[in-house]
Amino acid sequence: MSRMKRIYDWFEQRLQIEGPVREAVLHKVPRNTASWWYVFGSAAFTLLILQVVTGILLALVYVPSAAQAWESLNVLNHQIPLGWFLRAVHAWGSNFMVAVVFIHMAQVFLFGAYKFPRELTWTVGVFLLLLTLGMAFSGQVLRFDQDAYWGLGIGVFIMARVPLIGGQLVHLLLGGPIIAGATLSRFFTLHVFIIPGTLLFLAAVHIWMVLKLGVNEWPMPGRVVHRETYIAEYNKLAHDDGIPFVPGAFWKDLVFSGAVLAAVFVCALVLGPSGPGGQPDPSIIQTVPKPDFPFLWIYSVLSFLPPSLETPFILIAPIAMIAGLLAVPFVASEGEKSWHRRPVAVLALTTVAVAWAVFTHLGMYTPWSPHMNAWSGDPIPVRYLREATPLVRQGAVIFESKQCRNCHQIGGHGGERGPALDDIATRMTPDQMRFKVVTGGGNMPAFGKNLSPPEIEALVAFLETLHPANEPPAADAAQRAIETGGGAPPPVGGHSY
């Protein structure tokens, strides 16, 4: 006791930290804040620490040079014992962190916790979200494989569209006009020094405010926030029906953080690290680049927008979204906190969540670009060629060699930009197919200039055979009338094109 106590006292006399810590740990919070709903913020912070620790370990091996980055990740994956696991934990930690930060934000929004006097806590939180996304994106670039390379390329194209200063922005980000050695150094600096430094600092400010202002009380319908009375009301609540922050509320944070860490480890063990995929060699075009999870929705939104709206959307939407988030606590700094009395807020949150889920789902399952390597691997299902004539067989060759597969599925393989063609003959007559192939339209390129007339005929002959055995191919009503001797034309079905 005595020696330890003396050492402790020596430090305490100089640091004088015991008082503030004791105050932070034991301060009273309203009893009802000890809720399982209030655990996401601390989990986000736990994940941040996990990322810092695993990040430092990774940086011991990673070589931030364009020539060696990819190689060094392969060394981690295959040569250093458990190196792959370290990469996997860092990657899954990042996914979880993005998710937890978003959930935390949604919960804070739903509980009205951003209202007076916690406006600045929310504002700092918005920047923490942006920084977290910045970490996820710059981390993806450091992987420096094909996905990273093309993902960054697309990001840069987006940036280059900023009026007037687009070029300079790109130059600043890439360290030159193109993705090269300097690019990786810049992103390394961003990912390892600038963003995490800011992130840790702002996280500290954020937590400081949470401790100082107290954990948001459980929202009750009718308990309305007024600037003049709120603080007194809150203090009374914390005093009359309060419990010390530690351990009263804190144990739930600990349990949840532990569970999240365990989930990260399990994902890492079972699903492994992400990549590195193919080498980041721009001359290798056999690749289907896909952005990492948090950015998928942007790509699917972009791929559904008409081209004329792309630039305005890219430039205005992010600024509008950030401005909207920052404005929240200032627009509604007083009033009801309970979701029972805030239908607009609940509706807005639901809309955003559903839209986000839908677009992410689309991004996951619908290629937002053609499948550039689909054609070379996937054969035409044998059953489609069993009855083929020589011309049909040639049509099938052309179908493969012109890479219709990039955008169209057949037999369950191929792109999803255009419709699957397995029963195309029931939907279009040969004339309609010919017209569509030659002139394109509705997102389909026109192939008139790239196919000779016999090639078109062969292709149409092949497409004409694509219908289920029990469903006849579509026919031109007028022609059918002529063939059947001028009777009343049968009903036209399914010419939906």
Binding site: N77, F85, G258, L261, A262, G277, Q279, G377, V437
Partner: protein
């Protein structure tokens, strides 16, 4: 609670001792131009047109041992490297604008021979030469066609063999290869014409050349471009 964290932290190290975890990556990815495994090369580059396992595809049945016996390595290399201009068979060598290195092309040739060639594919018979010689008597070819081919190649479905649209898409050499080696996967007999439906002696070398010349003479591009033209585009 602290215990659960500890267990979670310790778990991977415990498990790492028990062999491969599902998440552990297998082997590093091989850059595409360093792949020399025949199965991979064939699946990535050829099977779309030539079919899984070299048959049942829309283009030539490469797994036919007779085809493998007819064509020598140098010819194969030229065909694969430079493609067959004017047809859909692309050039694969990097020197010709393709994606494959010379080693990879050698690996494909070696793999085809290993997997698909058979000793004595013709059972002692000597087939006509692989390459189509210049010249050839189209008139005689027509008689051969009527006598030996039309039996199977008539009727509404098979007419297309003499259709100029079809013929303008295939080379003489492809026609010759099909006649010589046959396509067991789709029911086309080889030059010996031994099937239940047909009888008679094998086609003589001159017959083969002349049938190809006949089919070639039907390949009239004027007829082809007069094929129904698509509707004009309503707007640009």
């Amino acid at each position: 609670m602290r215990l659960s964290t500890l267990v979670a932290l310790g778990l991977p190290f415990l498990l790492a001792g028990c062999g491969q975890m599902p998440g552990e990556p297998h082997s590093p990815p091989v850059p595409p131009e360093q792949v020399t495994d025949f199965a991979t090369l064939y699946a990535r580059n050829c099977q779309a047109c030539h079919g899984t396992g070299g048959q049942n595809g829309p283009a030539m049945d490469l797994a036919n041992p007779e085809f493998q016996a007819l064509v020598d390595d140098n010819t194969l290399r030229t065909i694969i490297s430079d493609g067959l201009p004017g047809t859909q068979m692309p050039a694969w060598a990097q020197s010709a604008g393709g994606m494959l290195t010379d080693q990879q092309i050698s690996a494909i040739i070696g793999g085809m021979r290993r997997n698909w060639a058979k000793p004595d594919a013709f059972g002692g018979a000597t087939p006509p030469a692989f390459e189509q010689p210049k010249g050839g008597d189209a008139n005689h070819g027509r008689q051969v066609y009527q006598a030996r081919c039309a039996g199977c190649h008539s009727g509404p479905k098979r007419q297309q063999l003499t259709s100029p649209v079809y013929l303008s898409l295939v080379s003489d050499q492809a026609l010759r290869s099909i006649i010589l080696a046959g396509r067991p996967d789709i029911g086309q007999p080889d030059w010996r014409m031994q099937t239940p439906q047909t009888s008679g002696p094998p086609l003589a070398p001159q017959d083969v050349t002349d049938v190809v010349a006949y089919l070639g003479s039907l390949r009239n591009p004027d007829v082809v471009s007069a094929a129904p033209t698509p509707m004009p585009s309503p707007r640009r």
